[in-house]
Symmetry: C2
Subunit: 375 residues, 2 copies
């Protein structure tokens, strides 16, 4: 691999800068570690064994996953401590049970009495420990039972001995614009999780997992007492949305899209690239952030913002349309020029690709790391 | 396959209703056929050999593709007449030339003098016919030279004998809300393409390809005289955006996402499904259509809109949040229920999946058709 460089790649392609990844991993490990809770990296963003190994270095070893395809993939690579952090359905139990039989401590998630009963019934029928956490709503209003609800106790009761605790996700932290605001959401996660856990303990449940987390809350929480673990995900790579919230520099974005210029319109200061809506994703999360980056920010081949605020203003299927603040910059970007693009939401962007081309601050590709996609 | 049904699938999954596909293919074949021009189906949406074979039935046999991965895939399946309808870069020429050497009549696209020179140089050096069309802008203002520009003649001159004509794409038809409006854009495509072609002929170019098309313009054009072919793509499947523009019924959507309910909030009339931003895509194209469908419309397992205007109002990575107009409908959708979701833009949605599960108006899966993704 030592001789391959970014210039040799077919575009579009994903580029992962390893030193930036390592810095981001350290930042989060430090942030979570100061509270004395475990870090359970959520691999929904990276979906990569190589990234996962680095993310658990120095940690307890557990990971979170968002699909059973991820659970299978990481199990095959030897990851035996996994939290499947999306509500399970009865139909998916057979696949989950197969992983548990293979020795994976795969913890399931539900907020539903019917699903809980199906889990408990399967556990009894198969003589299998199917550890499950009850999902609690801490204010995001997506999934989860209210921490003070009867529903919490009903789900736990239906789970019986399968219930090992609670999880919550402060996804409303994505509505925050500052670390201080994220800290407020973090406290709502902590209070909801600990409240629910205490109620389960009072009801006789042996609670061993109290799991919280999103990238903004895990990083900026002021306290996590009572919680056993945090499970952020996107922090590994960062993106245009996350760096605004965190106040991080642009060079904390570890993963960008390598693209080629396919058309130039010098009079208008517009260039087209071969990274469009599929390669960048149609995510527009920065539309509600202080700075709206369209569908992405143009960087040069070395990852530097050397064209100013040059945004992808349209993203058709295979066409990204970029407007250059200085139209004369078109002369620096003839057709075939290689560029990199930072995107709004790297979880969505990376999902279009099957591998990362790894660099170490230069254009030389030092490794290729596969990803698992699909379900 | 005869015994498999939708109930046996891991969700989320893509479902393709074959009778609907066949109807959509007939509608477009009839619409384009009445003008006496060839239909070159664009496979950027379907990316499937099985769909492509049906789309070219009764046609001249040519297809359009949006990536070289598609070109490779269709070449392997015996499709020898292909238009790669995205601007080529010099770096991609070796891969394109390899296909041409294997006997594929792969027509390239460019609007750039530099790329045109690289094409001509390679053709001369290798003694290879690298047929290329000049991309013309008919008002979309994405790629392409103006039909009355000096640039048109400069690109053709740089191509030399490689130049075989022009192509244009009336993508601004996506800003239309009625067939009559789309017909106006269709005429702008026709006039731009024919004008450019006539100028090339006057300059001595042997023009054999004058290619236009988008789904709305190809279907609703009032005239296509002077044009040699139309290359629509999404018409095969249709989606919530296209049916509004065309005034088609909901049951003209051939491809939907099968999903499972993962959480229910009866008090609010909200259900969550395991199809989120990756499975549905974050495309919001109906935001500018007469009816905004959020991230998609909930259908029952048989593809019927039996929950009224039940929209996916949020799409996180693996969570779709659906609000039911009648909260009591939550009782019909316990966790584990299977549903189908029609989406805004099926080109983007389908890109997350590697196969279609084919049904013939029932729940029985009669075939599985693979897709090619990536680049």
């Amino acid at each position: 691999m030592g001789d391959s460089t970014l210039e040799t790649l077919a575009t579009p392609a994903l580029v992962l800068d390893r030193p930036t990844l390592e810095r981001n991993l350290t930042t989060m490990a430090t942030a979570v570690g100061r509270h004395g809770v475990r870090l359970r990296p959520h691999l929904k963003t990276a979906k990569s064994v190589e990234v996962a190994r680095r993310a658990i270095a120095g940690q307890a070893g557990g990971i979170a996953v968002s699909t059973l395809a991820e659970a299978d993939y990481f199990a095959q690579a030897g990851f035996t401590d996994q939290l499947y952090a999306v509500g399970i359905t009865p139909q998916k139990l057979a696949r989950a049970a197969a992983l548990i039989r293979r020795g994976v401590n795969l913890v399931l998630t539900t907020d539903d009495v019917g699903a809980a009963r199906a889990i408990a019934a399967l556990a009894t029928a198969e003589g299998l420990a199917i550890r499950t956490v009850v999902e609690v709503d801490c204010g995001e209003h997506r999934a989860g039972v209210a921490p003070d609800s009867e529903q919490l106790l009903a789900v736990a009761a239906a789970l019986g001995p399968c219930c090992i605790g609670v999880m919550t996700h402060g996804g409303h932290s994505y509505g925050c614009q500052t670390p201080a605001e994220a800290a407020v959401v973090a406290e709502s996660e902590r209070v909801a999780a600990v409240t629910a856990a205490e109620r389960l303990r009072s009801a006789g449940v042996a609670v061993s997992m109290i799991s919280v987390g999103s990238t903004p809350t895990a990083r900026f929480a002021n306290r996590l007492d009572g919680v056993t673990e945090a499970r952020p995900g996107v922090y590994m790579f960062q993106d245009l949305f996350q760096i605004q919230l965190a106040g991080d520099p642009l060079d904390s974005i570890a993963v960008t899209v390598l693209a080629s210029v396919t058309s130039v319109r010098p009079a208008e200061g517009v260039v087209l690239v071969d990274a469009g809506g599929i390669a960048l994703s149609k995510d527009r999360s920065t539309a509600s952030a202080p700075t709206d980056y369209g569908y992405g920010l143009l960087l040069d081949l070395d990852g530097q913002p050397s064209f100013g605020r040059a945004l992808v203003e349209r993203a058709n299927q295979e066409h990204g349309v970029i407007r250059l603040p200085n139209p004369a910059d078109c002369a620096r970007l003839p057709v075939g020029s290689l560029v990199r693009i930072a995107t709004n939401h790297i979880c969505m962007t990376a999902a279009a690709f099957d591998r990362y081309h790894v660099v170490d601050g230069t254009r030389t590709i030092t490794a290729v790391w596969p990803r698992v996609n699909g379900w």
